[in-house]
Structures are given as structure tokens and as C-alpha cells.
């Protein structure tokens, strides 16, 4: 699994290096160090170090760590967060917060319906007033804006 993560970084580092070497000049038109100077060093170093780490890890041949029995929960919570981000501009700040809290608590705090309902309602409303009313911050209004 660690090798997969390193390969993903290597892939991104390869793309970064390609752009740094192909599109960004090493020297500027004035003959000074240009916009490609630093990215080339960083990209090349990343690629070399990732390849070396893959080699060193493979040589060490450490036994892979067992997957945690709770990995599904972590995945579902991450997916819920992604859904929350998507819903922000569809339902608006307040409604999407309520939907996210209700869904997350239904998954994590099972069986406590009244507690979950209260938390799913009160916390988003408090945050809405903190950000929108007190801090005057911009929260997404959604397709059907609230009247207040």
C-alpha cells in the first residue's frame, strides 16, 4: 500500500517535472535564473527520491501492515465529506450542513435518534449564525436561497 502511495507521488512528480523542463525556461530573457530553475530542482529531486524510496522499501521487504477493520468507516466519512462539499452550492450552506450532520451521526452515533436530531439541527444553525450573522462571511446560498 505504501508502494502504491509512493507510485502515485512519483506519477505526479513526473508530470510536474515534465512541465518544469518543457514549459518553464531555466533562464529569463534578461539572462537571470528563470521561472523553471527552482521547479526543475524540486521535480528532479522528487522523482529521484521516490524511485530510490521504492527501491529501498522493496529491498527492506518489510511485511505489509494489516488493514484496519475500521477502514470502511474512514472511507464512508470521506465520501460523506465529498458529498457535503458538492451539496454546498446545491442546497446552500445551512441545509447542506444539516444533511451532512444527520447522515454522519446516523452512521456513527447509531440508535440515539433524538440526540442526533438535536445535534444535526442545533450545531449547523449555530455555525450559520456565527459565520453569516456575526462574522459576515460568505456561505453558499444554494439554488433556493433562505429568506434571512
Amino acid at each position: 500500500m505504501r508502494a502504491g502511495f509512493l507510485l502515485a507521488i512519483l506519477f505526479l512528480a513526473g508530470g510536474y517535472s515534465y512541465l518544469a523542463f518543457s514549459e518553464l525556461p531555466y533562464l529569463s530573457s534578461a539572462g537571470r535564473l528563470g521561472p523553471g530553475f527552482f521547479p526543475r530542482i524540486i521535480g528532479a529531486s522528487l522523482v529521484v527520491l521516490c524511485v530510490y524510496s521504492l527501491y529501498a522499501d522493496a529491498r527492506a521487504a518489510r511485511p505489509g501492515e494489516a488493514r484496519s477493520p475500521y477502514w470502511r468507516t474512514a472511507v464512508v466519512v470521506a465520501l460523506l465529506t465529498a458529498a457535503f462539499v458538492v451539496l454546498l452550492e446545491v442546497l446552500g450552506g445551512l441545509a447542506s450542513m444539516i444533511v451532512f450532520m444527520a447522515a454522519a451521526l446516523a452512521l456513527l452515533n447509531r440508535g440515539r435518534h433524538l440526540q442526533n436530531a438535536l445535534l444535526a439541527l442545533l450545531l449547523p444553525v449555530s455555525l450559520y449564525f456565527l459565520f453569516v450573522v456575526w462574522l459576515n462571511a460568505a456561505l453558499p446560498r444554494g439554488m433556493i436561497p433562505l429568506p434571512f
Binding site: 507521488i9 512528480a13 535564473l33 521547479p39 474512514a74 470521506a78 457535503f84 450552506g93 445535534l119 460568505a138
Partner: protein, 499 residues
Amino acid sequence: MDVFANLLLGLSVAVTPLNLAWLFIGVMIGMIVGIIPGFGPAAALAILLPVTFGMEPTGAVIMLAAIYYGSQYGGTITSILLNTPGESSSVASTFDGYPLAQQGRAGPALVMQAVASFVGGTLGVILITVLAAPFTLLTRSFGPPEFFLLVMMGLLTLIVMVGGNWRYGVISALIGFALGTVGVDLETGQSRFTFGSAEMIGGIDFIPIAIGLFGLGELYHAFYTGLHVTGTGGIVQYQKERRFWPELRDYVETRYALLRGSLLGFCIGVIPGAGATVASLMSYTLEKSVSKTPEKFGKGAMAGLVGPEAANNAASSGAMVPLLTLGIPGSASTAVLLAAFVLWGLTPGPLLMAQKPEFAWGLIASMYLGNVALLALNVFAIPLFVQMVKLPYRILAPAVILVCTIGTYSVNGSIIETALMLAAGVFGFFMKLHGFSPAALVLALVLGPLAEQSLRQSLTISRGSLMIFVERPMSLWIIGVAVAVLLAGVALRRRKQLI
């Protein structure tokens, strides 16, 4: 004399009712953040940064700084009562803090850690007060080579001292540097890695990355390890003890450990990248080596608790020196503080103290008051914080995700930045899972533009010669300190394996 005048100016700023209120809120939040395992001050600072946008800059920075040093106090409560450090800097406090609690001395251990934290924190602030101005004068002679070397020293120290595998630490820092190159090149005006997106021209904002890595990434990892099911374990029931207060011999036996820990912690805190965790572990090693009864360490030696506690609090004060005088943060938490400074148009560095004395000295003066408030809170409000340890993670985590997401969106009203935070969260989870260093990534992201600019300027001045980095006396000093710190780091890593 100037010092007292500056301090009085600072106190006049810090003791306004509003700033006192922000200070108190900051230390309370810091304590809570310190207590919650798996949720560090860097995440809390990044998440709360948007909340402070409506505040006056001095009050906001006073509150954020209080969260930072307050978390050093809170992290030890769980170290003593649960054998679970709330912060990485409280790991050393578990070695003797938990055995003391098991022996029925949790009360004295909690009070002594509060006293040690207070002494370390306050001595650290006294040293800032005395040394900040001379340090500022010294740093005015720094040029591009010195700044480049300082950035490199900070990152290397962080990687060698704190990180696990050094290769993963360097890869993390390089990713941070790479992200820091996105946007317009300031010298030539050419766009880099923007893919034609107008939102990317200004570069990758630091806040969504920090919130994602330290907020969401930590939470996902906590779910992965089952913290929402297992909870934080059993708490030692200190309330039932008859003897809550320490005995006179506790103070007498640990008086030198207090001083040693404070001075060592401050010196380590000043070095960019070293930080409170390194300070506390070094202090533990030092106390064990100078003790007449080293065999008691690990079995409930009060000096083994007091030394590291004084050290980590003094280090968090010391870390303010390079931040205020050079604009160079030494850790992820101080990197967020730097971002806060910049957001309010304040430029930390040699000119900050001269141009904005009311801000700089207001912050320093507030740290004295903050440490007093934290001492009182630690001694008298421990039952309240113990209740917070019992707050179920399955309820706390969704609430934190909510604040992370809404907080990120509210900064610029950008859904792209919110999506970036989510991506950083998933990436942060894998980084933590595989032993990479999110702190090195964030520090490199913040310092990347400075590193690039100072490297290019240095090489332009020297016409491409790298000798510029070893020809100047100040550069040589920095290299000397870096080598010493790195050697100490290697020694500490070996020692950590032995402890």
C-alpha cells in the same frame, strides 16, 4: 529601560477588556485542543483562522497564539491520566506522569505539570522580552543566503528530529515546495502550473491545505484506527485521592529540573524546525542523565515529568522568536500563525518590532497573562477538562468536519478551495498512514516562495557560485548551528529507540 517601556506598551494593549476576553477564549480552546488526542494546535489554528476575520488583528493574533501555547498545557493532562499524549510534545510526559498516577499521585503530578508549564512558559516569555530586540538587530544583517540557509535548516531539523523515515520527510517537504511554485513567478511574471485557471494565478492558498492535512487528514486517520469505537480508554480516578497537592519535597527535588528544562526548551524552540516535541524529549534525556537516581525514571520520577513539561512550554515561547524577528516559522503551528500575520497585513521580520511595536509587544505581554490564566485553569478546572476527554469522538468528529468545511469556504467563498481542502485531507490521511510528514509539507509550502526567491537572489549576486553560502560569517554560523542540531537530532533518534 527600553525593554520595560516596550513591555508597558504591550501590557496597555493586552489588558483591554476585549483583548483579555480573546486571550481567555484562546487559552480555553488551547486546553481543549491539547486534551483531544489526534487533534493538534496546527489544525485548530487553521480551522479557527477564518473565524477571526471579523476581529481586530491584535486581538485575533493574541487569541491564536494563546491556542498555540495553551495546547502545550492541555496535552499533558491526558498523558498523566490516560497514558495517551494529547500532543506529540507531551509524549515524554507519559513516561513518568502515568506511573505517578498509577501510584495514586495523579493530583500532585497534575499540579506539578501545571507549575512546570507555567515556569517554562513564563521564563520563555521573559527571554523573548529580553532577547527579541537584540535578535532583531542581529537579523537585520541577514541577506538572501542567510534566509535560504535558515529555511533549509528549519526543514532539515524538522525532518531529522521529529519525522520517522527521513526519505519520506524530504519527499513531504519537496511536495510542499512544488505546491509553493504554483502561480505567477514574481520575478518574470510567467504563470507556472496554473493550467489556465484564473483561481490558480495567485498560487495555492495555504489555509485549505493546512485545514485538510491537519484537520480532515487527522480525523480520517482517527476513524481508520477506530478511535470512534474504542474511545480514549480508562481515566485514572484522581478525584478520589486524599492528597491532591504536591508535597514540599516535590518542589525542592525538581527545582533544577524546572530551570534546566526551561532554558533547554527555549534554546531549542528558537531553532527553526526543532520545536516542543524535540525539546521535551531532550529534556527527559538530560534529566535522566544528570539524576542521582536514574533507575527511578520511567517508574514515576517527578523530575522526569517536570523537566519535559517546562521544556515544551519554553520551546513554544522560543519558537516565537524566529517567527517575530525573521518571519520564519519553525513548525506547522507557527506557520499558521505566520499566515495569520500576513492575512492582516503584518509582515513578521526585522522591521515588525520597529514598525508595529504595539502589536509585537502586545502579543508578548499577552503571553505573560496567558500563562497565569493557564496555571489557574490547570489547577482549578481540571475536572472540567477531564469531562471533555470523555466527549465521544463519534459526535466530535462530524462537528469538526463541519467547521473545517465551512471555515475553508468562508475564507474566499471558493468551492474550488473547499475541494482542495478535501483532497488535502485524503492526501493527509495517506501521509499519516505511511509515515510521511504533513508538518514538513506545510512548512515547505509556506516557506517555498522565500526559499526560491532567496536562492535565486543569492546565485544572482554570486553569479552562480555556491560559495556565497559559505563565505559570509553569518552563513557560516547558521551552517554551524545546523550541523550541531542535525548531529543532536541523530543522537536523539538513537536515544528515542532506546527509551
